[in-house]
């Protein structure tokens, strides 16, 4: 059974497929894994979503 005080937040992990730079932000509507987001600001490579996952905060 789930912990009643557990709050799960969804995060999206982004990664540039060229320089491999990663960033993490909160999940937003329309995100899905392997979605191409935008160009990397440092190397102009393609940034894609590599993971979407839930992390729990127990109160």
């Amino acid at each position: 059974m789930s912990n009643k005080n557990e709050i799960i937040t969804a995060y999206t992990l982004l990664q540039c497929n060229s320089c491999k730079e990663q960033s993490k932000r909160k999940f937003s509507d329309g995100d899905y894994v392997f979605k191409e987001i935008l160009k990397c600001s440092s190397c102009d490579g393609q940034i894609i979503i590599t993971k979407i996952f839930g992390e729990s905060l127990t109160q």
Binding site: M1, S2, I8, A10, F27, D29, G30, D31, Y32, V33, F34, K35, T50, K51, I52, F53, G54, E55
Partner: protein, 374 residues
């Protein structure tokens, strides 16, 4: 009050004197009561717990129903009020084929499951003038959640009321034993609703996540309905990568797709990646390797894969990521998604160890690919 002198009490209750009739009555009354009414008393006590669980189940069912109706009304644009139609869907039942003679039962089950899926899809589409495939699959999954919760509530209520009606305590015992498992499943289903509404990957999507990563920058082709494959190369081996079409909320048709790909491309080995239920004491995200077709569901897809592999004498290998029922149908936990790279490496290792250069390997990512493209 001075209790130091207990002579009066001793005299009244006859402590130490077994022949006192009043004392005998005190001892015999509960024995007689429990002999004749024991089961009824137990039924009353047990009923209280079951009633509590039943109202929780009803609450889960109502909440998920309301969430689905609100989602359709406010996020999508239905033709009119969909409430009545949806309420009819929730009551849909499936009559399983006769199994007295089990010969040939798999095609019958397969036909039944497919016709149910196709009808539900058509009915969902008929509620809208325009709706995307992603939304259709999401609504289909949400419908399945509410229908299952409704069914669980009805079954529990049926057994409970029958036991009460007949004052039959033994009838309530199996229900009492099964209730924690039923409630665990029901709670997992209720918690799955937000992930399906928002299109987030679920724990069961680890197989598609692994194979989807391997399919990046390859040409995707349709293998079957809502199922895609692509061809790639690794260490002089030809790889055929197969998964359900993401980011839709679907498991695709891995059985039929494997049949057609095996006939067409003649792979030498098959590797399947799936989520598997963990046992108590095991950790979520544990990875294990084994043999055989790693695929859940009602059994028709597994049957097809086993049959075609046997026909062509193809060994089937499996890699599973262990998780609970709840983990499998709710937002993918970090512990599970963190295993994607590890599993991918294990797949490549398995390919090298079990095939030779110039051979063909079919890699299947099994599971619901919601929120995972390719």
């Amino acid at each position: 009050v001075d209790f130091s002198n207990l002579d009066i009490l001793d005299e009244f209750f006859g402590m130490g004197d077994d022949s006192n009739p009043f004392m005998m009555l005190i001892w015999f009354l509960p024995i007689i009561l429990f002999v004749f009414y024991g089961q009824r008393i137990q039924l009353i006590i047990t009923s209280r717990d079951i009633k509590k669980s039943m109202s929780e189940l009803e609450q889960f069912r109502n909440d998920s129903r309301d969430e689905l109706i609100n989602y359709i009304k406010h996020k999508l644009s239905p033709n009119g009020d969909p409430t009545q139609k949806l309420d009819r869907f929730f009551d849909y039942f499936t009559i399983m084929p006769v199994d007295i003679d089990p010969n040939g039962i798999i095609p019958k089950i397969h036909n039944l499951v497919r016709s149910r899926e196709d009808t539900t899809r058509k009915q969902v589409k008929s509620m809208f003038t325009e709706i995307s495939t992603l939304e259709v699959t999401k609504v289909q999954n949400l419908l399945e959640i509410v229908t299952t919760l409704q069914l669980l509530h009805r079954i529990v209520r049926h057994f409970f009321l029958t036991a009460k009606k007949q004052n039959n305590y033994p009838l309530i015992l199996p229900l009492q034993m099964m209730l924690p498992f039923i409630m665990e499943q029901a709670e997992a289903l209720k918690d799955a609703v937000p992930a399906f509404k928002q299109g987030q990957p679920i724990g069961d999507g680890i197989g598609p996540l692994v194979v989807g990563g391997m399919m990046l920058d390859t040409k995707k082709q349709k293998a079957e309905f809502e199922t895609v494959y692509s061809e790639s190369e690794f260490n002089d081996r030809k790889l055929i990568l197969l998964k359900a079409e993401g980011p839709y909320a679907t498991v695709g048709r891995p059985g039929e797709a494997t049949e057609s790909l095996v006939e067409k491309l003649k792979p030498n080995i098959i590797i399947m990646i799936d989520a598997a239920l963990k046992l108590e004491g095991e950790d979520t995200g544990d990875v294990a390797q084994g043999f055989g077709a790693a695929i859940g569901g009602i059994g028709t897809d597994r049957f097809k894969i086993e049959a075609i592999a046997t026909k062509h004498d193809i060994p089937v290998f499996a890699i599973v990521v262990r998780q609970s029922v709840r983990d499998a149908i709710t937002l993918m936990k970090k512990e599970i998604s963190d295993q994607a790279e590890n599993v991918r490496n294990q797949v490549y290792e398995m390919i090298t160890d079990n095939s030779n250069p110039n051979e063909t390997v079919l890699v299947i990512g099994v599971g619901n690919t919601l929120g995972v493209a390719q």
